[in-house]
């Protein structure tokens, strides 16, 4: 693997909630995403996936730990970082300013970074609209977001994210709000562009099948911690963490028959403990840490396998 594009080192983010209750959104997360690599981050809602993306993108400050981009601190050179790292949002309806035409939306990064003249920006916008499959681009330049379908909006958002030819992209559930039939097209587009541009990519999803389809490596997050991480095929094929297995069962069959427990985890123990079919005494007392069980395959569980 080449030098990591983006690295998270012991990254934590704590939210101070109401009644002085602290919420550990992200807890001591270590992560490295290489150039040309797609890292799929999977987990349920509230597991800290989106916060991780926001931390990596510098939209939020970590409570502790740090983020490195190509070995340097993005906060030190924000302009350069913002030019090379881009974000794609979940909701294509909210991600575009409803008052701006497609041309202005797509060329906004160029305007921000002062790239090109008006005519050059227009040409570049046309080229990118074509690349994301909105052809002929002429038909789209002057449209407003409300005149586009969800899939088309997401394509516009992708064109906007990539027009500066960034080196790293974080995509936060970019297809979860789209119809299946539309989702396929967007996934294909993202995979193609990622390969053509050699992008490093953090791809967040709650769908393991989608994660496997697009990623080289997959990380599974639960309650702010990475509980399993490894090559996509290994994580899906030989899942070691009981939570990953539950996710797989949910994805494969669509129905889980076992009953759920809604009890809170013990403060020192494994956070998945109360929901875990394998939990033993040690799981209540000691939190497991990521340990290698195969080639690049790590799992945080006292009873993996």
């Amino acid at each position: 693997m080449t030098q990591a594009r983006v690295e998270a080192i012991e990254l934590s983010r704590i939210y101070r909630g109401s009644r002085r209750r602290a919420v550990l959104a992200v807890d001591r997360l270590n992560l490295a995403i290489g150039g040309g690599e797609v890292f799929g981050l999977v987990g349920e809602s509230g597991s800290g996936k989106s916060t991780t993306a926001r931390l990596l993108m510098g939209l939020e400050r970590p409570t502790s730990g740090r983020v490195l981009y190509r070995g340097w601190d993005p906060a030190k050179r924000p302009r350069e970082f913002r030019r090379q790292a881009q974000l794609i949002f979940q909701d294509p309806y909210a991600a575009l300013n409803p008052a701006l035409r497609v041309l202005r939306t797509v060329t906004e990064p160029l305007a921000i970074h002062g790239v090109g003249t008006g005519a050059e920006r227009r040409r570049l916008a046309c080229r990118w609209l074509e690349r994301v499959g909105l052809t002929p681009p002429r038909d789209y330049l002057d449209r407003f977001p409300h005149e586009l379908s969800g899939g088309q909006r997401q394509r516009v958002a992708i064109a906007r994210a990539l027009i500066l030819e960034p080196a790293f992209v974080a995509a936060d559930e970019p297809t979860s709000m789209l119809d299946l039939s539309v989702q396929a097209g967007i996934l294909n587009l993202l995979v193609t562009l990622q390969q053509e541009m050699g992008l490093g990519c953090l791809f967040i999803t709650h769908d393991l099948a989608v994660a496997r389809h697009v990623s080289h490596r997959i990380g599974v997050m639960f309650a702010g911690r990475l509980v399993e991480q490894g090559p996509a095929e290994a994580v899906v094929g030989t899942a070691a963490h009981p939570y990953t297995r539950q996710l797989l069962a949910a994805a494969a069959v669509g129905v889980l028959t076992e009953e759920v427990s809604f009890t809170a985890p013990s403060p020192d123990g494994c956070r998945f403990g109360p929901r875990c079919p394998r939990a033993g005494a040690v799981c209540r007392e000691q939190e497991p840490f990521l340990t290698a069980i195969g080639d690049g395959h790590l799992v945080a569980c006292h009873f993996p396998g």
Binding site: A95, E108, A157
Partner: protein, 279 residues
């Protein structure tokens, strides 16, 4: 009940717009509309209404109808200028407080609270008396105190806009605050600011009339408030003259305020997300 109000308000807004349009025309065409120069003695003083002087003459023989028509200019001008000052200040404070949040927001909003809590009219009177009469002083005094309400309304809208995905996207692309504010946030608050402007103008006109009535207005310009001031001074309130000297000016003030308020509430209802929530 709610439904009826909603169905009626566009019509009311239109009525308000009609009133404002008519007043604007009167102000523009004042020299041609008024039969006499309001600053010159046209006849004997204290004349009752007649064919030559539809509203009679005042204590120094000036035509009251002409005064009324020219007063439209001053009243509207001061109201609009004061609103412009109030809105510029209010928008700036609202934008900064809403966008940056944190301690800046807390500080600015406490300032807003202070301005809102202080009794408005006494303070205005005090300041106007201290600064002395004059149109610009009136504008500054009113504008300098009326910005708090628009600031608060605009701040809440900015806060809601700030968390929109496309604003975050713009920040993530590296957009500096100036770019994000002018490109995404300001356009989003324009409709709301317009509504606030109209309401502030109506308020401004009322306050200007009050100040002038108290003799704190610009002595060389004819405004409705100053007409009332002299009417009161010469005892018109106690004699039959109030019908043509006091009533018309009072009605004009009421009409103007009504016009601005109708338009303002209509705009506010259309654009304020909180009032629109029930839809």
């Amino acid at each position: 009940m709610l439904k009826r109000r909603r169905a009626r308000s566009p019509a009311l807004g239109l009525v308000g717009a009609g009133i404002l349009l008519a007043l604007g025309l009167v102000a523009l065409l004042a020299p041609w509309l008024s039969p006499y120069d309001p600053h010159h003695r046209a006849s004997r003083p204290f004349l009752p209404p007649s064919a030559g002087h539809p509203l009679g003459t005042n204590d120094i023989g000036q035509d009251i109808a002409s005064e009324l028509i020219h007063g439209t200019r001053v009243s509207l001008l001061i109201g609009v200028l004061a609103a412009a000052v109030a809105l510029s200040l209010g928008t700036l404070v609202g934008l900064v407080a809403g966008y940056y949040g944190g301690p800046v927001d807390v500080l600015l909003m406490r300032l807003v609270d202070v301005v809102l809590v202080v009794p408005f009219l006494p303070l205005v009177i005090l300041l106007a008396a201290y600064l002395g009469p004059g149109m610009w002083n009136t504008v500054l005094v009113i504008g300098g105190l009326a910005w708090a309400r628009p600031a608060r309304v605009i701040r809440s809208q900015v806060m809601s806009l700030r968390s929109r995905c496309y604003v975050v996207a713009s920040q993530a692309m590296g957009g500096r605050p100036a770019h994000v504010l002018s490109g995404h946030v300001l356009p989003g608050i324009m409709p709301l600011a317009l509504a606030q402007f109209v309401l502030a103008a109506s308020h401004g006109i009322l306050v200007e009339a009050s100040l002038s009535f108290l003799g704190l207005g610009d002595p060389v310009r004819k405004s409705w408030g100053s007409m009332l001031h002299y009417a009161q001074l010469r005892g018109a309130f106690l004699t039959g003259a109030w019908r043509w000297w006091v009533l018309p000016a009072g009605l004009m003030i009421t009409l103007t305020t009504l016009g601005f308020t109708l338009v303002g509430y209509w705009l506010e209802e259309r654009f304020d997300p909180r009032l629109r929530g029930g839809r």
